[in-house]
């Protein structure tokens, strides 16, 4: 709303979803609002046409609908033409967990990362989400914005400086680094707190932008801490863990321990709340802190042995 008040080019296109969310915009800016109906391919083509006519277009739907059904429209119509379209998916990961696997958006980051011209953003808390919305609107070109559902806890306890492609350091620490993307930030912070009770100084980075990735922050962590762990509510293939691994694998200046915490490349066979499914797949605070402690403890023993 604030964006649209400031910039008359801002245009919202929805795929007949957003009950209770989109009405204020539609009423305030009827000339810059469109419900394209349950037709995501057409919605995305229209968005490209609007953007190529000078609009800054946000397409909005839930989970996989605004990206997978219309993937080729995003690739050809939006990305190839460098159309100023921001694809917004609400319900990233297991936010709609109980609705079943059709509504689990768990490969979106990998798929969007692979598209040329596309920036990929998954903010970690409501404050990052607000800043990310401003940032993608100001960025000239296609963006994918993965949001959770409204009502997530605020993680940042002080004002943030949000910049696309720059990780935010949420906790300082010199022993190990946790890098999270999207709504796993809260879990990352709680895991860091649990580990600090066990004597580990944990750095936490919110990697809200997956593409372009902040390789500098990753490599700094690889040099300054002894282990890096990635946390994401996304398939183990192609998301944050893969992006960080690619960066680490091509840099030889470190001996960092590295492990990805993500979802297996499999459909969740049971429905459940976000919390239930996270825990089921090993992304709960307790199992994460145990696994991370064990991995970094092994590392310390190894380092101690090597120095003898």
């Amino acid at each position: 709303m604030k964006l649209a008040e400031r910039d008359s080019r801002v245009f919202l296109v929805v795929g007949d979803l957003g009950f209770g969310v989109t009405e204020p915009f539609a009423q305030r800016f009827p000339e810059r609002y469109l419900n394209a109906g349950v037709a995501e391919q057409n919605m995305t083509g229209i968005a490209a046409g609007l953007a190529l006519s000078g609009k800054i277009v946000f397409t909005y739907s839930i989970a996989n609908f605004p990206i997978l059904r219309c993937l080729e429209q995003i690739r050809n119509d939006v990305c190839y033409h460098h159309a100023n379209v921001k694809v917004v998916a609400v319900g990233g990961g297991f936010a709609y967990g109980a609705l079943g696997a059709t509504h689990h958006a768990t490969e979106d980051l990998a798929i969007m990362r692979a598209l040329p011209e596309m920036s990929v953003v998954a903010p970690g808390d409501p404050e990052e989400a607000a800043a990310a919305t401003e940032a993608v609107a100001a960025h000239d070109g296609p963006c994918y914005l993965r949001l959770g559902r409204a009502g997530e806890q605020k993680v940042h306890d002080r004002p943030i400086h949000f910049q696309l492609g720059k990780a935010i350091q949420v906790r300082q620490g010199g022993d190990v680094t946790l890098i999270s993307t999207g709504g796993m930030l809260q879990t990352a912070v709680e895991t860091a707190d649990a580990l600090s009770h066990k004597g580990l100084q944990v750095r936490v980075l919110s990697m809200h932008t997956l593409k372009p990735l902040d390789a500098g922050a990753v490599l700094t962590a690889a040099c300054e801490t002894s282990a890096i762990f990635t946390l994401e509510e996304h398939s183990i293939i192609g998301g944050l863990g893969s992006a960080v691994a690619e960066t680490l694998a091509e840099s030889a200046d470190h001996e960092v321990v590295f492990k990805r915490f993500a979802l297996p490349s499999a459909f969740a066979c049971k429905p459940g709340s976000q919390e239930y499914l996270r825990t089921h797949f090993g992304l709960g605070v307790e199992s994460l802190s145990d696994a991370i402690y064990a991995a970094s403890h092994a590392r310390r023993l190894f380092a101690a042995g090597a120095s003898l």
């Binding site: 037709a39 046409g49 429209q73 119509d77």
Partner: protein
């Protein structure tokens, strides 16, 4: 469809080769991007780029690729090649013009086989609902698609009725009759508040006896002997 393009670029489309990005230009999207050779020739004739660009069409490192490509080619509005993309984009452009109270029009040419794509029918629902009477669809209805006749593969009939039922102002014309093409594309919109759909009945390979109605020529390029024969039948002397 060469006849359709010739009429479009000879007075129907308000475009300016000197200012391909002129904001008030009519937009033309060739959704059947595989037929770009004809578009490139029309653009060169109209002066968007030199004829010499046509010489290495489709070859390694050439300016002009084998499907309509906007990158580095003045006058090509949208890159196409995957079918079913042009009409939704055209809807977005037509909607933007309406919302901005601009007077330019948006033309999009589809193939018949392309109408198998569901995305076109999403857009076909959309345009009349939003009264996009600045939008014109032209369908090159040559009755042949990739692997056979339209009737055999996935019959579109009753084709005009389908568009009418979706809310379009439909005209059926002989797509090789210049007078009929001009008439259909001159008084637009055909009906107030409705998008226009011109179904142009055409003959694939029109004017060359050994090419007409032949699926083979969807794929083959003529050898030099066939080329000479074809040009002679078409009455081209140069």
């Amino acid at each position: 469809m060469a006849d359709l393009l010739a009429v479009l670029y000879n007075g129907i489309l308000r475009v300016d080769p000197k200012r391909p990005d002129w904001a008030e230009r009519d937009r033309f999207i060739l959704s059947k991007g595989h037929a770009c050779a004809a578009l490139y020739v029309a653009l060169a004739e109209r002066g968007f780029f030199p004829d010499s660009w046509l010489d290495d069409f489709y070859q390694d490192g050439a300016r002009l690729a084998g499907h309509a490509t906007h990158v580095g080619v003045p006058g090509v509005e949208i890159s196409t090649g995957s079918l079913g993309h042009g009409l939704p984009i055209a809807c977005g452009m037509a909607l933007a013009a309406k919302r901005n109270r601009e007077l330019h029009r948006v033309f999009v040419m589809l193939s018949d086989g392309e109408c198998d794509e569901g995305s076109n029918w999403e857009a076909a629902l959309f345009a009349p609902h939003h009264r996009l009477d600045n939008l014109v669809v032209i369908i090159d209805y040559n009755k042949i698609q990739s692997l056979g006749t339209v009737k055999e593969v996935l019959d579109l009939e009753p084709f005009a009725d389908k568009w009418r039922a979706f809310g379009w102002a439909v005209q059926e014309i002989d797509g090789h009759n210049v007078g009929q093409i001009e008439q259909a594309l001159t008084d637009l919109p055909a009906k107030a508040d409705k998008p226009t759909c011109v179904i142009a009945h055409t003959i694939k390979g029109k004017g060359v006896s050994f090419m007409e109605h032949k699926l083979l020529w969807h794929y083959r390029s003529p050898n030099s002997e066939e080329m000479t024969g074809a040009m002679s039948e078409l009455g081209v002397t140069e």
